[in-house]
Amino acid sequence: MTRRSILKYAFAGIAAIVLTLVVGWWQVDGPGAPEQAGLRPVALSEMEFRLTDHEGNEVGPENLIGSPSMVFFGFTYCPDVCPTTLSDISGWLDDLGEEAEGMNVVFITVDPERDTVEAMAEYVGYFHPSIRGWTGPEEEIARAAQGFRARYGRVPTEGGDYTMNHTASVFLFDAKGRFSTMIDYHEPREFAVPKIRRALNRETGGQHEN
């Protein structure tokens, strides 16, 4: 084999790899990616939504950049999953103590019809003081859920009431707003705290890079 033909093969090989990577990117992360649940949330810097926190302040994804964040979706008329998640989060925050100081912890309602600013304020008051409750117009909740790749839906119940199905995972982001990982519902507590610690420590990693 001449040197020229070796080069030719090498070039063809590299071209094939590059093509595979491009096609892969197009299908997985690029414009060719299918819209489906189970995808990772986008970075907070790429999200756009305007909501109101439980103290009446206007908030958006930019409020979550600068410190690590923990975000989850739910609704205050939820008797089982949401108070359980909120008390789990309160427990994780207690376990982490000072380590979690400054972390953004946000509960976004998927039921803005019933979860007004006042309802959110009353509800989050029963849990860890770091937990913030965000609500807002239905379209803005939908935009937020889209960014987090969270899903929700209204389900009528007997007697004319309704309940909400919703993604029950807790999303973790580092201080730069990059998605770190999520804590699934039912995940044992001993896995949750180390995951939060990882999101918290990515902040330190980022600082070292600078």
Partner: protein, 154 residues
């Protein structure tokens, strides 16, 4: 002929007595670790949890709940699918095999207390009646813990 008839009658009597299963004794049911979460007002549904243990030799079937605290108490099941989406649905009748127990616990089965008649205040308790298919009932006094409670007080 008479003897045959008597024989048939005896057989059918025997058959009917064995075909009808001995109704499970709800007196063999033990309820442990009952607790509920406090409510905010009466608009949101309340929730209660417990472990129901069948210490008898026959299966028992829990058919419903009654309490003066809520107009529509019912057992619901929370489930979370592969995409992480949680949903809730009535669980229907619950059969508990002999020697087995069923746990009503956060994220699974729970007594959903719809249409609260009064707020559920932390530190108080309420009576919840469990109805079984044999017509028996068990009255449980359920302590109300804080909204952020994670389990029964040990």
């Amino acid at each position: 002929m008479k003897t045959v008839l008597y024989g048939l009658m005896a057989a059918s009597m025997f058959a009917s007595s064995t075909a009808t299963p001995v109704e499970a004794g709800s007196e063999d049911v033990v309820v442990e670790d009952a607790w509920a979460r406090a409510s905010i007002g009466v608009n949101r549904p309340g929730v209660a949890y417990m472990t129901i243990r069948n210490t008898g030799d026959e299966a028992v079937i829990l058919t419903g709940l009654r309490t003066d605290l809520a107009m529509m108490p019912d057992i619901h099941q929370t489930s979370t699918n592969a995409d992480g989406v949680s949903s809730m649905a009535p669980a229907g009748e619950i059969e508990i095999a002999p020697g087995e127990s069923v746990s009503l616990e956060p994220g699974g089965l729970h007594a959903m207390l719809m249409r609260l008649q009064r707020p559920m205040a932390k530190g108080e308790s309420f009576s919840l009646t469990l109805d079984f298919s044999d017509g028996g009932e068990i009255v449980v006094e359920v302590p109300i813990l804080g909204i952020a409670a994670r389990g029964p007080e040990s």
